[in-house]
Amino acid sequence: MKILYGMQKPDEGTIAVDGEQVSFSSPADAIARGIGMVHQHFMLADNLTVLENVVLGGEKLYGIGSKARKKILEISDAYGLGVRPDALVEDLGVADRQRVEILKVLYRGARTLILDEPTAVLVPQEVDALFDNLRELKAEGLTVIFISHKLGEVLKVADDITVIRRGTTVGTADPKTATTKQLAELMVGSELPTPETRESTVTDVAMLKVQDLRLAATDPDGVVREVLAGIDFTIHKGEVLGIAGVEGNGQTELIEALMGMSLPDGGVITLDGKDISTAPTRKRREGGIGYIPEDRHRHALLLESPLWENRILGHVTEAPNSKRGILDPKAARKDTERIVREYDVRTPGIEVTAASLSGGNQQKLIVGREMSHSPKFLIAAHPTRGVDVGAQAQIWDAIREARREGLAVLLISADLDELIGLSDTLRVIYRGRLVADADPATITPEELGTAMTGAARGHLDATDNPSAAADGDTTEDEAR
């Protein structure tokens, strides 16, 4: 993928576009050949308008004025993207931002689109809308490379499927006849791991209790907004509480409040019977909170430090990392080797920097580290985001195993299958409130997706008539 987009040079092999052999030494070359990429993480400037974002770096094409605007509207209409050129990017939802990214690529004259895990951040309804867009593009004669680990989606949207495992093509499939099971077998060489947890291990001993957690924040326009409004929940020993929600509805703030990285305006947090509402982060970690953050590069790793120093991070006061204030690098190194072994972190050694590992292996190291201090309560935010299928299964296994031993887990994820599969209890967060709860045994991703847009409240029951909840409230989210 990086090679196709010119970010990296191949050692061997050739690429042919339209039957013509090409070689790219930079993304600019790839763009010139009509190849465009929509990254998993959006590359947009929040404080600029859609128009400005699209022309940024492509000023020479159609200028920055009315000609560019005309072109944008033209593309938007042609492919049914529905982009408003003058909206500020920061006001757009995730799905809209993605459409801007696609438009940006088309604006530069791309005929081949690479989409990297485009659905990871979307709710099912938005995924459907994206697929409609892609079909439009296809109808206009464009080529789309859709990279995803969600097999159902691949089957739904693709005309041709190629399965890649560890850098080699392991097979191709015809989406008309192939099943998810066959694809999965090609992908991992064995059966697809499912996040399903079978037997319940929930006890009636409360491990984490959150009562009436409140936080208000002032947004850039000076409007005071409730980011967390009266959050109440209890997680028992051996229970996984899943929180579903479109990103930006208070999940990040909730995690930060639980970790003590920011102090909430009000509310009580009790861990294992002890009030930790005002305890500093380090005390909370020592008290048994494990933390797998949503952004591992920002919150869980020192990228330029060796693995064994990363193993110390967050647990510097605990054995085996230090004794009476003095570090014990020898013991820390030894324990890092153990983590690398037990959690199957693929690395040539523990002296390499964290940055040189792949995302999945970084995440396995983090999971291993957090699990090594026998946490009582684990915060797992998007634990398998950007992680390959093999690592995904291992991470799920680790969480499941710890849960069996009485760990309480708060799971926050945008992957609804993961949420439904791993959780014992499901809650939906919307605009800082827990608006709905559901039973993971009966709920479908679609129903959960509806609730995430704020359209459904209360207890979601699969057998209920969902029309009672879907009262046209969905537009509210888009208007945001």
Binding site: G167, M261, H299, S305, S322, L327, I350, S356
Partner: protein
């Protein structure tokens, strides 16, 4: 694993080497461009270093630079840019000189008191910038530069005879009065002159610096904060407390910078106390990559340029050639270190990829460290 260590060592040496070579080449170009013989001044400087008295001067100056650079390096390790070492050091030297001259104690206690006062003063002055940063988010770069200017004025005012200053008879110098002999630090006498005893304390502090940073929890927290503030915070470091602590320690060490001179030679703070040591300290810390051994060598290098360029005047060259050289070193250091750093990261990622592809990963069934 040896392979990665050797790599890292090579890369660590590559940065300074590249920087120094390019700085010297650039100096020669500057000299040639201004119509001066590009080789002769350098030769004279090297000749100068052969004299014993110049050697003693270099060692004494290196000790002072070493302390200033340590102070800067503590800040650098957590991404704090303490430009105020100069002001902190001068104010600390002046206040401790005043206290030292006013009291009479037995030998070691007297020296200890002066040193402690200096550290406290330096920490106090740096602490102002620390509080401003932690409480109000004021950039420490701005506040420490301003505090340098304020320190200059405060010292000038305090040195007035109507305040704390003393005007020696028959001189227009202003001093803080002489520290009695019990407050002098014993020196190491050599044929070329006296080496300040405090210089050895300075180098010993380098060992303490290494230990605290690399072997203590506090040091780990500090380095983590420097490497990634967000990750450090998530790991349990309180950023505000860390800023304050780092600033206080940095200031305390900055306060020590004046000690070799004050305790070893001048025994008073006067108008001719050197200016700008703190800024040279930044160069030294940069060149030494905030590593005590690196700082040790770069302190000697800068001291050498300083002291041996003084001899250029007598040979018909401008001694500012030394200053030009120092400036060029700073530029070369910043550029070459960044280049080497990026190259190192890219190279390692590539190597890790290769090793994994070759199946050298640490395996579940393989207890030995592979590679």
């Amino acid at each position: 694993m040896k392979k990665f260590d050797k790599d890292r060592l090579l890369l660590a040496a590559a940065g300074p080497t590249l920087a120094l070579i390019s700085a010297f080449v650039l100096t020669m170009i500057v000299l040639a461009a201004s119509g001066v013989d590009p080789i002769d001044p350098l030769r004279i400087m090297i000749d100068q270093a052969g004299y014993e008295d110049v050697q003693v001067l270099i060692v004494n100056q290196a000790g002072i630079y070493f302390l200033a650079a340590l102070a800067v390096a503590i800040g650098f390790r957590m991404n704090l840019f303490n430009i105020g070492v100069d002001g902190q050091y001068r104010l600390a030297a002046m206040i401790s000189a005043v206290v030292g001259a006013k009291v009479a104690l037995t030998g070691p206690l007297h020296i200890l008191l002066i040193v402690l006062v200096a550290m406290a003063t330096g920490a106090f002055w740096a602490g102002i910038a620390g509080i401003l940063k932690a409480r109000r988010g004021v950039s420490e770069v701005v506040s420490t530069i301003m505090l340098n200017a304020i320190a200059t004025s405060v010292i000038a005012w305090l040195l007035l005879p109507k305040n704390l200053g003393v005007q020696p008879a028959g001189s227009n110098d202003l001093t803080t009065g002489d520290i009695p002999e019990s407050g002098w630090f014993p020196a190491l006498s050599l044929p070329g002159g006296d080496i300040y005893g405090f210089t050895f304390v300075a180098f010993a502090l380098g060992v303490v610096y290494w230990f605290v940073l690399n072997r203590t929890r506090f040091g780990f927290d500090l380095r983590a904060s420097g490497a990634s503030e967000s990750a450090a915070q998530a790991s349990g470091v309180e950023p505000k407390k860390m800023i304050m602590t780092a600033m206080l320690i940095s200031g305390a060490v900055a306060g020590l910078t004046g000690m070799p001179l004050l305790l070893g030679e001048s025994h008073t703070y006067n108008l001719s106390f050197p200016l700008g040591i703190g800024f040279t300290g930044i160069t030294v810390a940069l060149l030494g990559r905030n590593n005590p051994v690196g700082i040790f060598f770069s302190a000697f290098l800068l001291a050498f340029i300083d002291k041996s360029s003084a001899g250029l005047d007598q040979n018909g060259y401008a001694k500012e050639i030394g200053t030009i050289m120092q400036g060029l070193i700073v530029i070369a250091v910043v550029v070459s270190y960044e280049l080497v750093r990026r190259y190192g990261i890219r190279r390692q990622q590539q190597k890790v990829g290769e090793e994994l592809a070759a199946g050298h990963a640490l395996k579940t069934d393989n207890k030995e460290v592979a590679a």
